[in-house]
Subunit: 399 residues, 2 copies
């Protein structure tokens, strides 16, 4: 996405093909190293069935002493019991041995098939190789993004920089995910590296807020993975003392921007998707209510197929809002599709269905706006349509 995307100061990375994926030439292990101890924060899946690497990494953040993230694709190391936990810890021990640090300073992530043990011998060789190759060069960010891809068709990166307290600071993020869970390939992963100096006590709530406004506002089919993980490392290599006040707030905005760009990139690359859909829900009593309405609409297969088919069938949008568990009357709601008012305070508005359908089919971006009259809370949410191609991708895979 950003050909000029580079790692912030004090970070190095590598990606190698170590044979976890069937195709031996496909990158399947990424290693990201900070030359100095970094503040680290993490947000993890809410699924009760949490993968082994999630359990290990969750216990190690927030922290002010993280040195590396090691992540593999092709195998999720989920539902693998005590052996899987030992494998996840082993991955961090191997990286720690190379760096001369404690295993607690290494975070680990996995994505891929559920229920199979990792090929740990291959991974050991892969980590050795990656540790020798890590560089700070200009292509390593994209390489690291490629090393965690499963059914993704493009590498997803996002970078920002700004002058804060008279110092140039940089953020660089990567993400993977072609669905919240792909065809047997679990997971959304994202890592953001920055050379800004931020304490983990600030970083953790800041990351949580950023995730709530980005990754928690996307949905492909609504199936929450066992491996979802977002990590941020701030190593302070840009120099200066820890950010605070206005500078810290500016940094939080940049972090949210990076997360939002990466979250949207996941939806744009969603399996089989034809339309990128933005849903704006406004005028409810709380943000949680607005989020609930947006999510119910985003996850309705009937809404998704209507958009795919270019059908301005607003009854599907309104009825999905109706079962979101939020109290309202029909007269409280108005609805616009691609800027066209279709439903005005509970009353249908006559419109040119053929023309609207044509536009809906031709334009690859769809915009739904639901305006309630019950408050000032709002939510912007991103999703995609549902196509035969999604069914094919997810039905034709055989374990």
């Amino acid at each position: 996405m950003n050909s000029s995307a580079v790692l912030p100061l004090g970070f190095r990375a590598a990606a190698v093909a170590c044979g976890i994926k069937k195709d031996p030439n496909k990158l399947d292990l990424s290693l990201i190293v900070s030359d100095r101890a970094a503040a680290a924060a993490g947000v993890f899946t809410q699924n009760r069935v949490a993968a082994a690497p999630v359990q290990v990494s969750r216990s190690r953040v927030p922290s002010n002493g993280v040195r590396a993230i090691v992540a593999n694709s092709g195998n999720a190391n989920a539902c693998t019991g005590e052996g899987g936990l030992a494998d996840a810890r082993r991955m961090t021990e191997l990286v720690a041995a190379h760096l001369g640090c404690s295993p607690d300073a290494v975070l680990v992530c996995s994505t891929g098939i559920i229920g199979e043990r990792l090929p740990i011998a291959k991974i050991e060789l892969g980590i050795q190789k990656a540790a020798k190759e890590i560089v700070a060069g200009s292509e390593t960010l994209e390489l690291a993004a490629r090393g965690i891809m499963t059914t993704d068709t493009v590498a997803k990166t996002s970078v920002r920089s700004a002058e804060l307290n008279d110092r140039l600071i940089r953020l660089a993020g990567i993400a993977k995910g072609a669905a919240m869970i792909g065809p047997n390939m679990a997971t959304m992963l994202s890592f953001v590296m920055t050379d800004a100096c931020v304490h983990s006590e600030s970083l953790q709530p800041m990351l949580k807020a950023a995730v709530n406004q980005s990754f928690n506002r996307i949905s492909v089919e609504g199936h929450t993975s066992t491996n979802d993980t977002v990590l941020v490392l701030a190593n302070g290599a840009a120099g200066g003392s820890a950010l605070s006040g206005v500078a810290l707030a500016q940094f939080a905005g940049l972090l949210r921007d990076v997360c939002t760009e990466l979250a949207q990139a996941i939806v744009r690359d969603a399996e089989g998707a034809n339309h990128f859909v933005t849903i704006d829900v406004e005028g409810l009593r709380t943000d949680a209510e607005a989020h609930r309405v947006a999510k119910a609409i985003a996850e309705s297969p009937l809404v998704k197929t209507a958009i795919y088919g270019g059908d301005p069938n607003w009854g599907r949008f309104v009825s999905a809002a109706g079962y979101a568990g939020v109290e309202f009357a029909e007269r409280d709601l108005s609805l616009w599709l691609n800027g066209l008012l279709l439903y005005d305070h509970g009353v249908p508005v006559p419109f040119d269905a053929a023309d609207t359908s044509d536009r809906l089919r031709k334009e690859k971006e769809t915009h739904l706006r639901l305006q309630f009259t019950l408050g000032t809370a709002r939510c912007q949410f991103w999703t995609c349509d549902l196509t035969e191609e999604y069914i094919k991708l997810n039905a034709d895979y055989h374990t």
Copy 2:
């Protein structure tokens, strides 16, 4: 479904084509009349956007004085404002005029497109025609079932009879729905008629319990309609005094059986479906927990596409259970697919994937069993797979 399905004593019915549907030969209005005042109970959609006929009928049950149900297909009379409410009331007034009863004694249902006003002149003529044609003959139950069909491919009926208190009593039910909501055609409707003598005070909680164990345990794509309605009329024409005690309990069992058969018939006729899927969730703390887990699995597009593709990808089932909002640890859960143990107290069990996949593809009935170790509550739930055909049916329709 039952060629010998007949109406209970004291009921007559008719179905006519009055031009609501585009095809002028398709039945689109059903009228069911009880010759005497019947006890009536109803259960309606939980959607905040409730159709006009739902609002009207909901205000008229439970009751001990219902004489008729009038129902049309082809138009849902939902999101139609005050005018739609007047139309729904008008339908009941027309029927009441023919029967010489109060409009309050007539219940009304609609199913079809959302957001368009009913063609009330056509419906007036249709009601006049139906009122002249109503008979008690042997084919009228199936005719009444046909009159409420939208994308259904088969008429759905279910009958039971039993000797209670030395009198033969009969139940006859009809239902429509090819999805909880079909391609622009909202709604699941079901009407059960019985000549047993049951007071509405017993009938209403009994129906609610029956619906909770039948219609509330099915899902096609999880989109709750604006028009869902289940009605039961008990006219006592079989003679005898009101059922009580053991006989009443036996009657409740028959009512539940009729509702269950009709609910399953809806899933079997679901749009584009290839597999009928039964999900048994056992061993949780409450029925609500078991229901939540079953529903999360039933509504996951990844579970549905795995079953469609014959993929014994149990990670999808386990991870869906994990995000159902029910607390458990992996070791609390075991999982069987078509009788084969795949996941034993949190540990994957080796199995012949090719053979299991073959069986999954060949057999049109799929059985998932999840056993938890946290209690004795359980839920049986029915759903279907998700196919390209469903996408096609719901994307190719244009308003």
